[in-house]
Symmetry: D2
Subunit: 139 residues, 4 copies
């Protein structure tokens, strides 16, 4: 049941991201997921700043995070991402695996949506970019 | 269908918690929820440091966050909390309301669990403290 | 040689602000100082958002921080602030004292400056507000 | 007057590190400097965790940061580091340059010290590691 991911990005845990127990703080995982989405978005030709100038804003509507294994200071890991489009929702399936042993650390589902000129609406630009992702995936 | 909360804590959004769009960053809400749980825990007579010395650690197993309304720099808000005990899980229902208009900003469900001497296990201390919460609630 | 402070703000250390050693992370002190400056600024009638709309931005040019005593999770503390105006610089002397024992934790000097319409320049609004601070101080 | 650096580490600015103005928040630069020191420390054979077990803790006593040019979301940059040993102090000269144009963004001097068995003291291990750095530098 392997997921066919669209993108992946490697990180190393930084000491300041760890808490009193030596674990990466729970909220920091959302930072990792967000940074990965932003880097992914660039690779499919979208630019947040340009979209913002056209009145398009994307926001997170929902985050579901299942913590499986704690990441520790110095750990290397990869965030893998798959995106699906459903109505006005762009759903990011984002999983974190520790490196090099590929142990699953976090399973995340981040549901985002777009606001165009202050109204919840589909953005044509985003849809077209996601279509390209789908084409690449199926090749 | 009003929830009967067990605890609440007020905050003010700090400028450094806001992102490029002027909204509180999505990951920062988890910080607010965590700090509220920690302050609540103290009020029911539990002490993380003392528990740690006895080999009891609590960890977040799952976080589900539904973002409803963006908090902005300077906004005042309250985090309300209700806790339920189910098997080895301690489930925190945590909702954020903006002040003074009580607009719902976030609905969160944080599932935590306890590890006693490196094994997933119920902690008697935590159970007893949660029983006291239940008694207070029903009075 | 007591400093005559212009403003003070109380905080409680939050667990997520602490690092692996249980100390508040060094960078977090700058967050405390910044939030205190922002809250102070409001009390003297300045509003960052309104200033920004008029093309006035204040930036930190220099930060000097002497760490004296570590703050720990749950510690209460107060950030005290005095501001001085020198040319295009607004210098904030900001010291952190633990509560209730008033032990000195950090001595900070934060030098800020203002950029008006993209040029380093004195902002009349800021100068006038700081004059009022001086008057209040000398009363 | 070029500085002969001992180490350098590349980063990319992450969106969540930026504030309402789109600049990297002032406190985040300390995170970059800290992570660079930690990565450097590993390359000279020191290990914080092992040192901690022997009762050796290093702490920041003083940070002086001169902000020169704002880093923005997506900017690539390098943190360069030189370390000097003076008595019980280990002084890190750490400068941040934007890439690829090598524009100076921040000049930092971070003074750290070591605490051995709860007393301010020189750590033989650290001194020996720093001697090796000096030898490598002079080769």
């Amino acid at each position: 049941m392997a997921i066919n991911y669209d993108y992946e990005l490697e990180f190393t845990v930084r000491n300041y991201e760890c808490d009193v127990l030596g674990h990466v703080n729970n909220s920091v995982y959302q930072n990792y997921l967000e940074h990965t989405r932003h880097e992914f978005i660039k690779t499919i030709g979208l630019n947040f700043k340009e979209m913002l100038e056209k009145g398009i804003v994307t926001v997170v509507a929902r985050a579901e995070l299942a913590y499986k294994t704690q990441l520790l200071d110095g750990d290397r890991f990869v965030v893998k991402l798959r995106v699906e489009h459903e109505g006005v929702k762009y759903i990011f399936y984002q999983d974190i695996y520790r490196l090099p042993d590929q142990k699953l650390c976090l399973k995340g589902i981040i549901t985002t949506t777009s606001i165009v000129n202050d109204r919840l609406a589909v953005s044509e630009e985003i849809i077209m970019a996601l279509e390209r992702v789908k084409q690449i995936r199926e090749e």
